[in-house]
Amino acid sequence: MSDLKALIEAVIKGDISTATAETQHAVGTGHNAQDILDKGLIAAMDEVGERFSKGQIFVPQMLRSAKTMQECMKALEPFFQEGSITSKGKVIIGTVKGDLHDIGKNLVSMMMEGAGFTMFDLGVDASPERFVQKAQEIEPDIVAMSALLSTTMPSMRLTIEALKEASLRDKVKVMIGGAPVTEKYAREIEADCYAPDAGSAVSKAKEILGIS
């Protein structure tokens, strides 16, 4: 049984093909899946987080590593019983109705996925009805909305109202963000939290769910 050094290195580098091959190799050489996850992938991502917080790597590298980890997880999934891999939480995310800007929303989604949340991305121009429908379907912990245009911000309020009407509002936390969105606006429309950027979206999400 070899150690997981090569896997860890590949995840840190964001080298998807080497990392997935190393994951398969680790499985083939007798590592158990939980060890590969804990001592390989998560250990690698801890190191990535450490390097990022020291400014040694940049966001694209961190996101590549997160993506690499997700690909490796796919290879490990058959070894876990359904539901035994814990998610930090389920999150529906989308750019609100009338708005087609999605770079900010996509960054938030990638960062949250990298941090262990399970993301359901509604894409752009997502109507209140679509948020409600998806929320009924998957029972998320968080509904996250993004808007770039001041003229589409009111869709956030409408979506929150639609969640209320569907009796879902008290079952989910609502998070909002986007250039013109402010803390004050979040309070006005009774969102649970406002995140000014993708990095803080992760910590805010953990905060409102009461997890570390």
Binding site: F58, L100, I103, L107, S150, T151, P180, A198, G199
Partner: protein, 471 residues
């Protein structure tokens, strides 16, 4: 004459070729069935499943040739018209921010309709700002009535040309109805449009239905328009400056071409708002040095097609009118000015990566722009300015202070700064140690205090447009 050209002719050709390849092999996502049909009829290659539209180089060249290389952005009084495509460089403020830095309170607040009126008054009085862009979002209004109110109050506070961002057809229609009324008829507005519209594609390579509707409307009614891409290198365009320029060039040309399909001969500006992402932490960096370089390059690319250009300079990441603001603004305004962009927008008032304004910053940036205009005016060399006769007359050991030659040239040769402080040390101390910001604050207050009247026939217009609010 451009003083700064970051791209060689060979660079320009390579970027232009790549933009053509992008438009021919990749295409633009057009999010509207009706416009897909129109473009197909006009000869573009349309894939209805992906909604991607591709343009051959020949087709593009033919369509772009319909765009005028010169036109005028009129002022309401005819005194401050802007002649685009003639090598002149015009500067203006930036638009649609949502926060204001109040230097006196050293605090921030959300912008209001009153701020649209006040910034228009500032621009009206600031000599180096050539036209006005609707500066901020009126948080005290519902979005449905933004445009009518924004343009009414802007036109009521300045006679300079007024440009503004639009998000949808209803908004541009409000602007057109109001401006037609003020002009004394649709035809008069078409003849001398004193308003123009900014809209944007979404990088990468996407134009949404609202934008297309705005382009079609403006083309139909003779309102000058720009469809200005704002790619962010490393996020919504390649991390290389050349790659971002190639994509932006494709997006800009597509905007111009589509407008010409919808309304041949429409007055359209090649738009450019390229910036970068700071990939250390994903902060939008439009005050970056690369922003200045790319905007200058964009101007060269627009000129390849003889299109008037709407470029950008003068934004900062700084949150206050501070040292960083001064450095970043000066550099990008200078670079974009020195390449002889027809219009440099965002050049005054902006803070916080384009999210905030401050009144003081308008005064300060007006000064920077004044200095850049001085640079552009160049050094005049002729027998009179060389001054041999006066040098001979004064001779060794004299001075020039009271010479006719001095008095004849002192007004034209020098730029006289205003909020910048040029005081002898003792006098400066006695004056309470003023600095550029404190002087700017006094000037802004003075302009706003002295100018409170209506420039428009208030009652007449308000009777016709019930939705106009007071400020």
């Amino acid at each position: 004459m451009p003083f700064y050209q970051p791209l060689t002719p060979e660079d320009i050709k390579q970027i232009d070729d790549t933009a053509h390849r992008i438009l021919e092999d990749v295409g633009i996502h057009i999010c509207d069935g009706v416009f897909l049909d129109e473009l197909k009829t006009a000869g573009a290659m349309v894939d209805y499943d992906s909604e991607w539209v591709r343009f051959s180089a020949d087709w593009l060249g033919e369509v772009l040739s319909r765009a005028p290389s010169r036109f005028t952005l009129h002022s309401r009084d005819g005194q401050k018209d802007l002649f685009l495509g003639e090598g002149k460089v015009y500067f203006t403020n930036g638009g649609r921010v949502f926060r204001l830095y109040d230097a006196e309170a050293d605090d921030y607040r959300l912008t209001l309709l009153r701020d649209v009126a006040q910034t228009a008054r500032l621009v009206d009085h600031l000599k180096h700002l050539d036209f006005y862009i609707i500066a901020c979002q009126a948080h005290d209004l519902a979005p449905e009535s933004y445009h009518l109110n924004d343009f009414y109050h802007a036109l009521n506070c300045t006679t300079k040309h007024v440009m503004g961002g639009c998000d949808n057809l209803d908004g541009v229609r409000q602007v057109w109805e109001l401006a037609s009324f003020i002009a004394g008829g649709e035809d008069k507005l078409r003849e001398k449009p004193f308003v123009s519209i900014i809209t944007n594609p979404i990088s990468p390579l996407t134009i949404e239905a609202n934008t297309l509707n705005i382009l079609a409307f403006c083309g139909k009614y003779g309102i000058p328009v720009t469809c200005a891409p704002a790619p962010i290198a490393g996020a919504t365009s390649p991390a290389t400056l050349a790659g971002t320029l190639a994509q932006m060039h494709a997006e800009s040309l597509a905007g111009v071409a589509i407008t010409q399909v919808l309304a041949p001969g429409a007055k359209v500006l090649y738009g450019a708002v390229p910036a970068i992402m700071d990939l250390r932490n994903m902060e939008f960096a439009i005050g970056s040095v690369e922003t200045g370089m790319m905007n200058a390059a964009a101007v060269q690319l627009a000129k390849l097609y003889h299109l008037p250009v709407y470029a950008s300079g003068g934004v900062t990441e700084a949150k206050k009118p501070d040292i960083q603001a001064g450095c970043e603004k000066t550099l990008t305004i200078l670079l974009t000015g020195m390449v002889a962009a027809d219009c440099v927008h965002l050049a005054a008032g902006m803070l916080d990566s384009g999210n905030a304004i401050s009144y003081e910053q308008y005064i300060i940036d007006n000064e920077v722009i004044g200095m850049v205009k001085r640079v552009l005016a160049g050094i005049s060399v002729n027998q009179v300015t060389l001054g041999f006769d006066v040098i001979k007359k004064v001779g060794p050991g004299g001075n020039y202070v009271t010479e006719d030659h001095t008095i004849e040239h002192m007004l034209d040769e020098f730029f006289y700064p205003n909020p910048s402080v040029r005081l002898n040390f003792d006098i400066w101390q006695e004056a309470g140690q003023p600095d550029m910001l404190s002087s700017a604050r006094v000037q802004a207050q003075q302009i706003l205090q002295d100018n409170k009247g209506d420039l428009l026939a208030r009652d007449l217009i308000r009777n016709a447009f019930q939705g106009i609010q007071n400020v």
